[in-house]
Amino acid sequence: MLKRTSYDVVVVGAGVVGAACAYYAARAGLRVAVVDRGPVAGGTTGAGEGNLLVSDKEPGPELDLALLSTTLWRELAEEFGDRVEYEPKGGLVVASAPAGLDALNGFAAKQRTVGVEAVPVAADSLRELEPHLAEGLPGGVLYPQDAQVQPALAAAHLLRASGAERYLGEAVTALRRGPDGAIRGVVTERRELAAPAVVNAAGTWGGAVAELAGVRLPVLPRRGFVLVTEPLPRLVRRKVYAADYVADVASGSADLQSSAVVEGTPAGPVLIGASRERVGFDRTLRPEVLHRLAAQAVALFPVLRTVAVQRAYRGFRPYLPDHLPAIGHDARVPGLYHACGHEGAGIGLAPATGLLIARQLAGEAVEFELAPFRPERFDGTAEGSGSGAE
């Protein structure tokens, strides 16, 4: 028999974005339930590195969101402290050739105009910041606002602090809608949860949840591998990556892109991310991908040649065709909200996403331009057309 319970909002997805939505919605005074077919952080969140980056984003809507998140993460860190392993350690982007340095400095100059702290670092100062960095690099840019968090812990603690009712290990099988088409609640394998609002924070599976409401949201997976070394002392102080990474993130190509992002963790291992491939949900390990990441990491930090990789893991980033997430109310279905498609930036963008969604849910003023993130923006485009209509 289905049990029936009422909430102000049901969040579908217990990843970091869903947890942040639940956290801010609860703070706005709403009664919240979170449903996930798996455990907390069971999807992309659990496979993430915990990047809170402004450094890799060009001026535009995503950077605005990242800057808002940077402030929010600082506030959250005060509440959660060490439990989420928040480290405001900054990022260091290095150029591998003089031409690359010019491009990087130009990129940084544009970022500074919108509030990004970006400090040019001369060649001879690089190794003061990162003593194990390879010699002979032409220079880089330091981004003090970049930070890191342990993503699974972040999701779990946000979710716990929200006080939301958790329904984990229960897949959502249907969305209830009234005669006017408005959301009335969700049906899971085990119960029915009544609510006038549903937030789709299902990450890579966001498209499927949208489909339950009869609307199209073309979320696709972009695979990534991360290498994890044996436990080490702090030999990498910041997030360090080569300038090529920015081009990879923005690339529309289906082919493999990789440019190592190297960083230490409070627990000891060094993380080496992050490859990007569009191969659907194929989980097959490609030694070629691991090879590329390892070679790039060793090029940045030759000392890593002496250590062992203990494990590798993979995840699937949820992306939308224009590389921006879907955030906000869906004009096509009253009561349906989306908070998914953050690609590789979901950990970083989660608080801003959660806050903005909560404001909309509570009917408060949203002083942030959400138009670029409109969920229905793909209607009529090649990616968005098709089975959208009921």
Binding site: A14, P39, V40, A41, G42, G46, A152, L153, A156, H157, L159, R160, R166, L168, G169, F225, L227, V228, T229, E230, P231, A267, P269, R283, T284, L285, R286, P287, E288, L290, H291, L293, A294, A295, Q296, A297, V298, A299, L304, R305, T306, V307, A308, V309, Q310, R311, A312, Y313, R314
Partner: protein, 467 residues
């Protein structure tokens, strides 16, 4: 047999693991005309079961520590004379890549000094098993070793972890280990077995079909009796004592659900403890390839194979403990059957019979020694569950009750249990139980052993890209 690698060779069959299953498979496959690479992490042939003293130790009677030594000696001799088999010793395969051919990526030697690749048309996984551990307070003390580890160190190095060794846990390996340790001069104050061994009584017809297993058991029993060793059934070591080394254990009676019965605790002095709860199939490479698994009666994951030992992955066969723990005779038979399937030859009748009988015995054994649901009752909150990352049971329990973890993977993400050097091989079964989630699910280990970063940075054994 050639003891080297040739990266240019395209083998018909690569066999990973040179224990009973792999040896029998390589021998049979060579007999059927296949070009075989026998790939193993160890320096010599035999795997864990046929582990034996290094030749330099000059052991005149290695059979004293072995059942079926003659079978091994014959296989070794035949393989040495087989021109179609290359023994690639010291190759630890960290990934099997599927393409037109299989490409095995391996790191070489105990120090993982360099890397190699092996190319083959077909692949047989005969990687055996490792021991299942269930934590208890004090299990990280020096002098506490696995039952299989005590046996392995004795078989290969002719050494003992102490002079007064308690043997504890569950499963037939305990009797074998205690029997070897006693024969080698250790005092065994007690064998502490968690089950009542009554489980076997339900399978009398199965036992009747496996007289050799009965004879082996009787032989261990007789030897133990001769050494005055006492078997304490339905009991467990619930704590190991000591500060820098074990000095004794507390043993308690268990109820039918393996919950320690208060008031039954008894202290036994010892300077070593050999402990284990049966074996876990070593199937990382196949799991990574997406092979289907089954959950065995004692709650471990094993590969699902068909009558020809084929896994669900085309071109990938499995034999022996990888298909469910069942002992050496079963492994030998399955190795032979797999080789015939790879060669496209009909299965020999003798091995089919052995497999049928021994698989039935294996199922009986697994059911008899499956851990009871309440064993976690002896895990105090401050017991380190994960040895590598030193994660106490308290943290695991809090991840479940406070943070919404409901399976081993989420507990790992939230506590680091299972993220250390051994990648959860020692704590995995325990963490799965403590999480309240499903047990017997295969663990995911994309790399089946640590790989030096410098080797990953090389492309297929060639020189490094960078610089």
């Amino acid at each position: 047999m050639v003891n080297s690698t040739s990266e240019q060779v395209r083998y018909d069959l690569a066999v990973i693991g040179a224990g009973p299953a792999g040896l029998a498979a390589a021998d049979a496959a060579a007999g059927l005309g296949l070009r075989v690479a026998l790939v193993d992490a160890g320096a010599g042939l035999g795997g864990q079961y046929y582990r034996h003293p290094a030749p330099e130790l000059g052991a005149a009677r290695p059979d004293k520590l072995h059942h079926g030594w003659r079978t091994f000696a014959e296989l070794r001799e035949r393989l040495a004379a087989a021109p179609l088999v290359d023994h690639l010793a010291g190759h630890h395969v960290w990934a099997a890549e599927r393409g037109e051919d299989w490409i095995l990526h391996a790191t070489r030697g105990p120090e993982a000094a360099d890397r190699a690749t092996v190319t083959a048309r077909c692949l047989l996984l005969a990687t055996g098993a490792y021991e299942r551990q269930l934590p208890f307070p004090g299990w990280t003390l020096p002098g506490v070793v696995t039952a299989g580890g005590a046996q392995a160190m004795l078989k290969s190095g002719l050494v003992l972890p102490g002079r007064r060794i308690v043997v504890a846990g569950s499963g037939p390996l305990l009797l074998a280990a205690a029997s070897s340790l006693a024969a080698a001069g250790a005092r065994i104050p007690a064998i502490v077995e968690a089950t009542a061994y009554l489980g076997y009584a339900r399978g009398l017809p199965v036992l009747a079909g496996n007289p050799a297993k009965l004879a082996e058991g009787a032989e261990h029993a007789a030897r133990l009796l001769r050494h005055g060793v006492r078997l304490r059934r339905r009991s467990a070591v619930v704590e190991a004592h000591g500060t820098d080394r074990i000095t004794g254990v507390t043993v308690a009676r268990l109820d039918a659900r393996w919950k320690p019965v208060p008031g039954t605790e008894r202290r036994i002095d010892c300077d070593a403890l050999a402990v284990g709860h049966g074996l876990v199939p070593q199937i990382d490479l196949a799991v990574e390839l997406g092979a289907d698994t089954v959950t065995t009666a004692d709650g471990t994951a094993a590969l699902r194979v068909d009558a020809q030992q084929r896994t669900s992955v085309p071109g990938l066969w499995a034999a022996g403990e990888t298909c469910g723990v069942g002992g050496a005779d079963l492994a030998l038979a399955e190795g032979v059957l797999a080789a015939h399937s790879v060669a496209g030859k009909p299965a020999p009748a003798r091995e089919l019979t052995v497999r049928r009988r021994r698989r039935a015995f294996a199922a009986l054994m697994a059911a008899a020694h499956a851990p009871g649901p309440d064993w976690t009752g002896w895990v105090t909150d401050d017991t380190d569950v994960c040895r590598c990352e030193e994660v106490p049971a308290r943290a695991v329990r809090e991840a479940v009750t406070e943070l919404g973890a409901a399976d081993a993977r989420t507990v790992k993400l939230l506590t680091r249990a299972g993220m250390g050097w051994c990648q959860g091989r020692m704590c995995g079964p325990a963490v799965a139980c403590l999480s309240g989630g499903p047990v017997g699910r295969p663990d995911s280990r994309p790399l089946s052993c640590p790989v030096p970063l410098a080797q990953l940075a090389q492309r297929d054994g060639t020189t490094e890209l960078s610089e």
